[in-house]
C-alpha cells in the first residue's frame, strides 16, 4: 500500500472528526486491515493524534491490525450458538488450522475470528466463511468444509 493509495481513500472524505470510523472501515475494506502507515496518514487529515486514532480503532472489535488470510473464518460465539456448541467449533478451528483467535495461519490460507452474533441464531451453531454463512454446523461438517478452501 502506497501513500498515494491512502490519499485516494482519504479523498472520499471531508476531514471531519466524525469520519474516523467510516475512514477506518473503508481502509479495512480496501486493504484488509489497519496498518501503522494508515494511521500515520489519517492523523494529519483529521487533525487528531495517532494515539487517539489507535484508541478508537482498538476499542471496536471490527478493526484488525494483522494481515488477513486468503479466506476469513468467523465462528459465532453468540448465546444461541454457545448453547449449541459454538465454543467446541472454535476450538476445532484452532486445532485444525493451528491458529488462535484474531490470527492468520502461517500459510495465509485462513484468518480466524470469534464474533458475537451473526444474526442467524435460529440455525445455530453458525460459522461464516468469507461471505457465506453455514448453519447447523458440527465438528465433522467443519472439517469437510475447511478442505474446500485454498
Amino acid at each position: 500500500m502506497t501513500v498515494m493509495e491512502y490519499r485516494n481513500v482519504l479523498a472520499e472524505f471531508q476531514g471531519e472528526e466524525g469520519e474516523l470510523i467510516p475512514i477506518l472501515q473503508r481502509i479495512q475494506e480496501k486493504f484488509g486491515y489497519i496498518t501503522e502507515d494508515a494511521i500515520k496518514n489519517i492523523s494529519p487529515f483529521l487533525k487528531i493524534s495517532e494515539n487517539q486514532i489507535y484508541g478508537v480503532a482498538s476499542f471496536y472489535s471490527q478493526f484488525r491490525f494483522t494481515e488477513p488470510g486468503r479466506n476469513s473464518i468467523k465462528v459465532c460465539m453468540g448465546t444461541a450458538c454457545h448453547m449449541r456448541g459454538g465454543q467446541i467449533l472454535g476450538e476445532a478451528v484452532e486445532r485444525e488450522l493451528d491458529v488462535k483467535p484474531g490470527q492468520t495461519t502461517k500459510d495465509k490460507r485462513f484468518d480466524f475470528h470469534r464474533v458475537a452474533c451473526l444474526g442467524c441464531c435460529a440455525l445455530a451453531p453458525v460459522i461464516q466463511v468469507n461471505e457465506d454463512i453455514r448453519s447447523r454446523m458440527n465438528v465433522i461438517k467443519l472439517k469437510e468444509m475447511l478442505d474446500k478452501y485454498e
Binding site: G18, T79, C81, R84, C117, G119, A122
Partner: protein, 634 residues
C-alpha cells in the same frame, strides 16, 4: 415529481400485476437465515429446473416469514390459485416440487407445509392453512406483516400494501397531532427499557433550536437476537417510514441509522430503499409538499455491544470511542453534537406507520393496559421451532415457548429473556405474562426480544459464566465496579465450572453482583449481574452440585464430563476411530471400540459422527464424570 396518490396508484398496478400474474409465481425466502440454510443453491436449482423443462415463472425473493427452523422455504402460486408453501427445500426437492406442481398440477400434499388464501379443491386437499400452523396461529403480525410477502427491494410492493400512508396521515395531523396519537396508542420503546415513546419526543420537540437529530438504533448487539435484522431485511421501508414519522414529530433535520456491520444484507437493503425514497420524493426537501426537509445517513457500527446504549452510540457516530455518559442531560435535550436527539429502536419505528395508518384505538385492542400492542421475539436455543415471532404483549411465556415454539428439545429447564442483561427464569415462571412489569417483577427484563430456551442439557452455571464473560469483555472500562467486579465474578464462575468452586463462592458472587449493579454508570454494568443473581436464586442447587459434588448435571462443563463408548450399542464401524484427532479411540472393525479417557480432548467429533453417520447412532455418550461409578453396569 408525482403526487402521492399517483405513486400509490402506480404501485397498486405493479402489485396487482404480480397477484394476477398469468405465470406461476415462485417465492423464495432469501433473508440471511434463508441464505445460511442454502437459499442461494435453491434459487439456482429453481432456475435450472425451469429452464430444462422450458417453463416460465416469476421468481420473487422475499424476506423471512419467521419459520427459520424450516428454511429454506419455497412457495409456489399457480395463476389464480392459492399459494402453497414448502419447507426445508433442498435443490433436489425443489425440482420434484416444481415438476409435480407446475407441470402436473400435483401439489404433493405430503411435502407441503401450508397454503395461503382460499381453499381450492384438490390443490389444497390435505394441506393445512399456513396461518393455522401451531407456530403461527397464536401470533398477531403487525410489525412483521409484510415480511415474507413483499419483495423488500421493491418500494411499490410496500406502497401497494399501505406503505407511506401513515406518513401522509402524520403530515395531515401535524407534529403535535402525531405525538398525541402515539401517546394515545401507549407505545413504549421496543429497544429494551419500554420508555413511553411520546414522552421523549415531547421533550425533544419542546427544546428550542433549529437543528435536531433522529437516530434509528439498529445495533442489535444482544447475541441470540435477530428481530431487527429480520425486519430490516424483510421490510426496510417500514422502518424508514417510521423514522420519517418520528423525525417529523420531533422536528428533526437529519436522520441516522446506526447499524451493525455484521448485517451486510440489511445495510444493502436500506441503501437501496433510501435511494428509492429519493426517487419518489419521500426524502429531501419539502417531502410530499409537507414543508418537511429530511435526509438519512447510514452509519455502520464497528462491533461493540455497548454502542447500543444511546449515549455510547452518539459518541460512536461522533467518531469517538463508544463510552456511555452519565445522564442527564438526556439526549432528547443534548445529544449528537450537543443537539437535541431522539434514538428509537428499529421495532419501535416499524410500529409507527401502523399506528398512524390505523389509529391509536385500533392499536390498543392488542396487548394489555399499560402494555399495548405487539412485540417481536427471536425464539432460539433448545427449542423445537426456532424463529421469529410476534405476539400481543401479555402473552404468557408458556404459550410462546410451548404452543408457538413447540417446547424444548429435552425437558424444559429455563428461559432467558432480555439477553445478557436479562434474567434466567425457571419453570415456575412459565405463566408470567410477557410484559415490561411482570418480567421485571420476576427479576428479569423484557429487553429487545431475545428469548433463549434452555433444556435439561443446558448447564445453568455455564450459561451464567457465558453471559458475564460477554458483558465483562464488552464493558467499556470506565466504571471500576463494572470492569473489575465483573472480571472477578467471571473468575469465580470459571473456577466453579472447573469443579474448583468453594462453598463461600456463592456468597461472594451475590455480594459482588449487587455491588456492580449499584456502582455502574450505564445500563451495561447495572444489568450485567442479572443472569447470575437470577440463577443463584432459581438454580442454586445446580451451583451446589458443581461445587460440592464436582458434578455438572447437564454434562456440559468440560472438566467435569467424560466421553464413553457404550459397548452394547457400538457396532464397531470405525467411523469414530477415523475422526478422532488424538487416537483416543481404538478397536478392530465389528467389535466394540475402546475410548481412552486420558487421550480424549472432548472435541465431540466421535459423538457427532456416531449420531449422524454411523450405524449405531448413539454408542458414544457424554456424561458427568461423577456418575460413572454407579453406572458401571452399562
Amino acid at each position: 415529481m408525482n403526487s402521492f396518490q399517483q405513486l400509490q396508484k402506480e404501485a397498486g398496478k405493479e402489485w396487482d400485476l404480480l397477484q394476477k400474474s398469468t405465470l406461476p409465481v415462485i417465492y423464495v425466502g432469501t433473508a440471511s437465515c434463508g441464505r445460511a440454510a442454502g437459499a442461494k443453491d435453491l434459487l439456482e436449482s429453481i432456475k435450472k429446473t425451469l429452464e430444462e423443462n422450458q417453463l416460465t415463472a416469476k421468481i420473487v425473493e422475499v424476506g423471512c416469514i419467521g419459520l427459520c427452523y424450516l428454511e429454506p422455504l419455497m412457495d409456489i402460486r399457480l395463476p389464480g390459485r392459492p399459494r402453497i408453501s414448502y419447507a426445508n427445500v433442498t435443490p433436489d426437492k425443489a425440482r420434484r416440487i416444481i415438476e409435480g406442481l407446475i407441470i402436473n398440477g400435483n401439489p404433493q400434499a405430503q411435502m407441503a407445509l401450508g397454503y395461503f388464501g382460499d381453499e381450492d379443491g384438490d390443490l389444497t386437499h390435505g394441506i393445512p392453512r399456513f396461518f393455522e400452523l401451531p407456530m403461527l396461529k397464536p401470533q398477531v403480525r403487525i410489525v412483521l406483516k409484510n415480511c415474507g410477502f413483499i419483495d423488500p427491494e421493491a418500494i411499490d410492493h410496500y406502497m401497494a400494501n399501505g406503505g407511506y400512508a401513515g406518513l401522509m396521515t402524520a403530515f395531515g395531523k401535524g407534529p403535535e397531532g402525531v405525538i398525541a396519537e402515539v401517546r394515545e396508542a401507549g407505545l413504549r420503546g421496543r429497544g429494551g427499557a419500554g420508555f413511553p415513546t411520546y414522552k421523549k419526543w415531547e421533550t425533544c420537540r419542546n427544546v428550542p433550536g433549529n437543528i435536531k437529530y433522529m437516530i434509528c438504533n439498529a445495533d442489535e448487539g444482544d447475541p441470540g437476537a435477530f428481530m431487527n435484522r429480520s425486519l430490516i431485511e424483510g421490510d426496510p421501508h417500514s422502518v424508514l417510514e417510521g423514522l420519517l414519522i418520528a423525525a417529523y414529530a420531533i422536528g428533526a433535520t437529519h436522520g441516522y441509522i446506526y447499524i451493525r456491520a455484521e448485517y451486510p444484507l440489511a445495510i444493502i437493503r436500506l441503501k437501496k430503499a433510501i435511494a428509492q425514497m429519493h426517487r419518489y420524493g419521500l426524502l429531501g426537501k419539502n417531502i410530499q409538499n409537507s414543508d418537511f426537509d429530511f435526509d438519512i445517513t447510514i452509519k455502520e457500527g464497528a462491533g461493540a455491544f455497548v454502542c447500543g446504549e444511546e449515549t455510547a452510540l452518539i459518541a460512536s457516530i461522533e467518531g469517538k470511542r463508544g463510552m456511555p455518559k452519565s445522564r442527564p442531560p438526556y439526549p432528547a435535550i443534548s445529544g449528537l453534537h450537543n443537539k437535541p436527539t431522539i434514538i428509537n429502536n428499529v421495532e419501535t419505528l416499524g410500529t409507527l406507520p401502523n399506528i398512524l395508518r390505523n389509529g391509536a384505538t385500533w392499536y390498543r385492542q392488542y396487548g394489555t393496559p399499560g402494555n399495548y400492542g405487539t412485540k417481536t421475539f427471536s425464539l432460539v436455543g433448545k427449542i423445537r421451532r426456532s424463529g421469529l415471532i410476534e405476539v400481543p404483549l401479555g402473552t404468557p411465556l408458556r404459550q410462546i415457548i410451548f404452543d408457538i415454539g413447540g417446547g424444548s428439545l429435552k425437558p424444559f429447564k429455563a428461559v432467558q429473556t432480555g439477553g445478557p442483561s436479562g434474567g434466567c427464569l425457571s419453570s415456575e415462571f412459565l405463566d408470567t405474562p410477557v410484559d415490561y412489569e411482570s418480567l421485571g417483577a420476576a427479576g428479569s427484563i423484557m429487553g429487545s426480544g431475545g428469548l433463549i430456551v434452555m433444556d435439561e442439557d443446558t448447564c445453568i452455571v455455564d450459561v451464567a459464566r457465558y453471559f458475564l464473560d460477554f458483558t465483562q469483555k464488552e464493558s467499556c472500562g470506565k466504571c471500576s465496579p463494572c470492569r473489575v467486579g465483573s472480571g472477578h465474578m467471571v473468575e469465580i464462575l470459571e473456577r466453579i465450572t472447573k469443579g474448583q468452586g468453594q462453598p463461600e463462592d456463592l456468597i461472594k458472587l451475590q455480594t459482588l453482583g449487587e455491588t456492580v449493579k449499584r456502582g455502574s454508570l450505564c445500563g451495561l454494568g447495572q444489568t450485567a449481574p442479572n443472569p447470575i443473581l437470577t440463577t443463584l436464586r432459581y438454580f442454586r442447587s445446580e451451583y451446589l452440585s458443581h461445587i460440592k459434588e464436582k458434578h455438572c448435571p447437564a454434562a456440559v462443563c468440560k472438566e467435569l464430563i467424560e466421553y464413553r463408548v457404550v459397548p452394547d450399542k457400538c457396532t464397531g464401524c470405525r467411523r469414530c476411530v477415523n475422526v478422532c484427532p488424538t487416537g483416543a479411540i481404538t478397536g478392530p472393525r465389528a467389535e466394540p471400540h475402546n475410548l481412552d479417557p486420558t487421550k480424549c480432548i472432548k472435541c465431540r467429533a466421535c459423538y457427532e459422527i456416531c449420531r449422524f453417520d454411523a450405524i449405531a447412532g448413539d454408542a458414544i455418550i457424554i456424561r458427568s464424570r461423577r456418575s460413572i461409578p454407579d453406572e458401571q453396569t452399562i
